[in-house]
């Protein structure tokens, strides 16, 4: 699939996320928007190694997991009407995805745990397993316990992706509590590390189609709130979902 088509699909995914989040008022909209291009690359771009019919993605960054819902609709896992029923008693789609939802392989919501779980799944199945981590999730010590283990056992069929939107709830990670130099840190543990622009489909395609003799860690630099101008890189939007009609109108317009 060419980049133009991918961008169009990704925009459509963002628009639908924006709609069901603003309609319900529940969840972490900005965190969902930052990782959409990564998912679009994995799910829609045939040139990546990921095959959603056989492989598995684990959302360690559980609050971003609803970003997958429009994609599950596109691929036929979930009926389109479910998006409108997000977080309602009648619907199956939840604020944090779980394995009761077709196409989901995990229970999301507790940070720092998906990576170790994904490692076990990868080791036990030999599937390609992709685990999506948040950057602020890297403060959890359990993540680093798992990285030591994954590197030692050279679990090559596990790809780790950090959605590096550079923010936690309270602001920028580098101002609150430094995470950098991340690339060097991961590399020193023995991982094959690459940093990409998480909104560039050429770079994502290359990262997701390159074979390695070591477990891969992809640091995807992204923009929190991507696609909605007034939300982009504004930390207060971690928990705030636009309610004002004009804000919602602008958001939908910008994502159309």
């Amino acid at each position: 699939m060419n980049n133009e088509e991918l961008e169009k699909l990704a925009k459509s995914v963002r628009k639908r996320i924006f709609k069901f989040k603003t309609k319900s008022g529940y969840g972490h909209l900005a965190s969902c928007l930052s990782c959409v291009d990564i998912l679009a690359s994995l799910y829609y771009d045939e040139e990546t190694n990921y095959d959603h019919t056989k492989d598995a993605i684990i959302f360690s960054k559980g609050h971003g997991s609803p970003s997958i819902y429009p994609i599950l609709v596109d691929l036929g896992y979930v009926d389109e009407s479910e998006l409108d029923k997000y977080c309602t008693p009648e619907g199956i789609l939840r604020l944090h995805a779980d394995s009761s939802i077709p196409g989901c392989n995990f229970v999301a919501g507790s940070l720092g745990n998906g990576i170790g779980y994904a490692a076990g799944l990868a080791y036990g199945t030999q599937k390609n397993v992709v685990v999506m981590l948040g950057d602020a999730e890297l403060y959890e010590g359990s993540v680093w316990e798992s990285i030591i283990f994954i590197a030692h056992h050279n679990i090559k069929n596990l790809t780790m992706v950090v959605d590096r939107n550079a923010m936690g709830i309270l602001g920028k990670t580098e101002e609150l509590l430094k995470l950098e130099p991340l690339e060097e840190k991961f590399a020193s543990f023995g991982l094959d590390v690459v940093t990409v622009d998480g909104h560039n489909f050429d770079e994502l395609r290359k990262a997701f189609s390159t074979e390695s003799d070591r477990p891969r860690m992809i640091i995807a630099n992204t923009i929190k709130g991507k696609g909605v101008s007034y939300m982009e890189d504004v930390w207060q939007y971690h928990t705030i979902i636009p309610k004002d009609e004009e804000e919602i109108r602008i958001g939908i317009e910008e994502l159309t």
Binding site: N113, G116, A119, G120, L121, S142, E145, S146, I148, F149
Partner: protein, 323 residues
């Protein structure tokens, strides 16, 4: 005194030789039985290092891949990965077996950091987990087969050492997996012929694991004083088999729970919940450790005796509370 850990791991090793889906993850713990495992089945063994959280998460992922996974560490560290057990195993329905070695004061005199005296309380709170405190070596061995054959999230509380007299309890019983799953059985000591009955209340002492040995000592002393006493070995603490429990305690008016835990939410609480839920007309006396962390020096027996759980002290508590 025998080690349930070595009995469990030895039997599990035999099963693992026949079943390549069995994996053992050691969280920086050794054991004589492990040495052979590491040599002969290296592909079914992981040294996780001192990393309880990753060990449980990785085990949950392996379980999701259809493997039978055992995580082995000191019982005190279940608190350290409680969230991972709750989230990745209980919530996500990934059955694994957690082997907690050295429950309660079993690691004395290591101090309270190594002596989990409230693990039953927090582990019992997990939805749909099974918790076992095996009686002796035979029950421990049978538990291996149950955990291999029937997938379930389980916490198996292993005694580093247990009183040898507990081995005799299984002599006349055929220990099948079905029997182990019953979760409890009555031990009925014979009243000494010379005894006279001095109370109308029949006493039933309920306990498990190491403390079951003490329950036997207490019952013997009480019987020489003329009391009628039965003992129930309740090796599956969650869930308690309610119907069987009701039948088993029906001849007794006075129930005593004996545990090596603090009393909030532990073994005695589990029994009291069943008594209340079934509206059983029984008096219940819960006997356990005081509400504090124990920093004194001394071995397990010393610490038990010094903290209100000597045979004499237990007998006195029971006699004082008898109706």
């Amino acid at each position: 005194m025998s080690s349930q850990r070595d009995i469990f791991l030895t039997r599990l090793f035999e099963r693992a030789k026949e079943d390549k889906d069995i994996y053992l993850i050691s969280v920086d713990m050794g054991a004589p039985a492990l040495d052979r495992w590491r040599q002969e089945l290296p592909d079914q063994f992981f040294a996780a290092g001192i990393s309880e959280q990753n060990a449980i998460n990785f085990a949950a992922g392996l379980s999701a891949a259809g493997k039978k996974v055992y995580v082995y560490f000191m019982a005190c560290w279940v608190a350290r990965c409680f969230e991972q057990i709750r989230y990745s195993c209980a919530m996500a329905n990934n059955p694994i077996t957690i082997l907690g070695n050295g429950v309660a004061l079993g690691y004395a005199p290591a101090g309270p950091a190594h002596e989990p005296t409230e693990d039953l309380t927090y582990m019992r709170s997990l939805c749909d987990i099974e918790i076992y405190s095996p009686t002796n070596g035979e029950v421990t061995e049978k538990l291996v087969d149950l955990t291999c054959d029937v997938p379930k999230l389980r916490y198996v509380r292993l005694e580093r050492k247990y009183p040898e007299k507990l081995d005799n309890l299984s002599k006349n019983t055929k220990l099948t997996s079905e029997f182990i799953e019953r979760g409890l059985s009555v031990i009925s000591p014979e009243m000494p012929e010379s005894s006279r009955q001095i109370s109308n209340s029949k006493i039933c002492i309920l306990s498990s694991g190491y403390m079951l040995g003490r329950a036997i000592d207490v019952s013997e002393k009480l019987m020489t004083l003329g009391y009628e006493v039965g003992i129930v070995d309740l090796w599956r603490i969650k869930p308690i088999n309610s119907e069987l429990f009701k039948q088993t305690v029906s001849p007794y008016e006075f129930l005593v729970t004996l545990e090596e835990q603090t009393l909030f939410g532990g073994f005695g609480s589990a029994v009291a919940e069943v008594v209340v839920d079934l509206s059983l007309d029984k008096d219940v006396l819960r006997i356990g450790l005081p509400e504090r962390y124990i920093f004194e020096n001394g071995d397990r027996e010393h610490l038990l005796n010094a903290n209100g759980l000597s045979v004499e002290s237990i007998c006195e508590k029971i006699r004082t509370r008898l109706p």
